[in-house]
Amino acid sequence: MIFTLRKEKEREYTHHDAAVIGAGPAGLTAAIYLGRAKIDTVIFEKIAPGGLIASTDWIENYPGFPDGTSGEKLSELMEDQAIRFGARIEAIEIIGVDLNSDPIEIKTNGGAYTAYAIIIASGTSPRRLNVPGEEELIGKGISFCATCDAPFFEGEDIIVVGAGNSGIQESLYLSKFAKSIKVVEFLDHPTAEKILLDRIKEFDKIELLLYHEVKRFLGEGKLTGVEVEDRESKKKKVIDVKGAFIYVGLVPNTGFLNDAVDMDPEGFIKTGPKLSTSKEGAFAAGDVRTTSLRQVATAIGDGALAAHGVREYLEER
């Protein structure tokens, strides 16, 4: 049995040299580098240190853990390392940021803060399918968090939507609970890593349903089925399930920015050299920025690079 201790601090003072928004792998790495550079830094985290990896069952492509590690454990280790170098994590939600003021003003649900430089490492949230029935049945059979909700589907038939790395990895976890899992993929091929695809072949209860589109979720008050369409034949069918886990991509957590920095058409933050954004003093790191790969390993690199950018920026100020 694990007992995970969050180590957030209460607000003591409101001006810092640097502020990091988000305590996922990118934000915590930035905090480690800024801490070691002795730059007074605050980190804001609204849910729990670790970001999306905190709800990831198992991570095995991050170096240093030859047998893999749980997302919960990796989050805790990263948090401990950041705290060791003086990181100050505050459990607070960012409401808005004024990037035109100097110092930058950060509005939170616990009052205003200022900082000379910020690193936006606010990460992403699971993308929704936006099909009929989804909104009404979230929490009533539809879930975005397998580690949170898998035990409720013990012995049940379920679907997982999306055959990318997240969908397949979480299907493997869900197979410990569910009776059967159909993984519905929009494309005609799964996009997960080959090693994960090889692994699911060992599980008879996991079946891939390629080139199918989820059209709607069915059920009154609780999920009873999912209507899918074969994209080739255009034939529709209903799969009777009590659970649906959705892994169809990510949307950036940038609402609090109010379009203050340049973003790509999907809302991810555009970055330049040393991960600077279009606004002076603002940097972006991790999944929230435009990038071709969103992994723990890439977020770590981003965090280090953005911290380096902040350090140089503060020295030149």
């Binding site: 007992f3 969050r6 919960e72 009533k140 909700d149």
Partner: protein, 216 residues
């Protein structure tokens, strides 16, 4: 080896030493005949916690003492109630394991101090509530979003005694989870009548609670 990591004990000693100014009693109701690992873990966890600061004490009671349990307002067993001179119905049905351990620690510090991390407008709105509200927050230990909902319910009860906030370990109480159709957490049940899902900010959480109260 104990349940709480040695480095976490060191951290907790410092936090309790800085934060606690009032005595806090952890009231633990358990079935005295329950020799399960679950029950043993709960008791061990609490024993390890109270050893970390002189302000903390543990009182163990038997679930079969219905009168006493009812006097404490506890419907289920096992339960941990965090008590101090400060008002508040801060309660855990089942073990606060995984991410929920932090909820217990933060509740202890809040109940042992005058801290209250809620926005002023929310405090004002909660203070005006003059009817009973029972909030059961169903969680699973691996849910990183759940402590936010548990803590919000507990903080509400520290503002207004008309509000009772309980964490419920969904896996520890499967029948109750089924009764309230819990299939995603955090799942918040309002007055055993209505429910909503999600770790919402305090203001939105309060709005959902009030909305739930109106459902007959």
């Amino acid at each position: 080896m104990g349940l709480i990591r040695e480095e976490d004990k060191k951290y907790l000693r410092e936090e309790f030493s800085k934060g606690l100014i009032k005595d806090v009693e952890l009231l633990y109701f358990a079935d005295k005949n329950d020799q399960s690992d679950y029950n043993l873990a709960m008791k061990t966890l609490l024993l390890e916690l109270v050893e970390l600061d002189d302000h903390l004490t543990l009182t163990v009671k038997d679930c079969s003492d219905k009168e006493e349990r009812e006097a404490e307002g506890l419907e289920l067993c096992p339960a941990i109630k965090v008590k101090s001179a400060r008002k508040g119905f801060v309660n855990f049905y089942g073990i606060p394991a995984g991410y929920e351990f932090s909820s217990l620690v933060e509740d202890i510090i809040d109940m042992g101090s005058d801290k209250l991390a809620l926005p002023d407008d929310v405090i004002e709105e909660i203070s005006e509530i003059d009817y009973p509200i029972d909030l059961k927050v169903f969680i699973t230990a691996a849910c990183p979003y759940c402590p936010r909902a548990v803590r919000t319910a507990h903080l509400f009860s520290m503002v207004n005694e008309n509000i009772r906030g309980s964490m419920v370990d969904a896996n520890g109480f499967p029948e109750l989870s089924m009764k309230f159709m819990v299939s995603s957490v955090p799942h918040i049940v309002v007055n055993d009548r209505s429910s909503f899902v999600g770790a919402l900010p305090p203001k939105e959480f309060l709005a959902k609670v009030k909305e739930g109260i109106l459902i007959k």
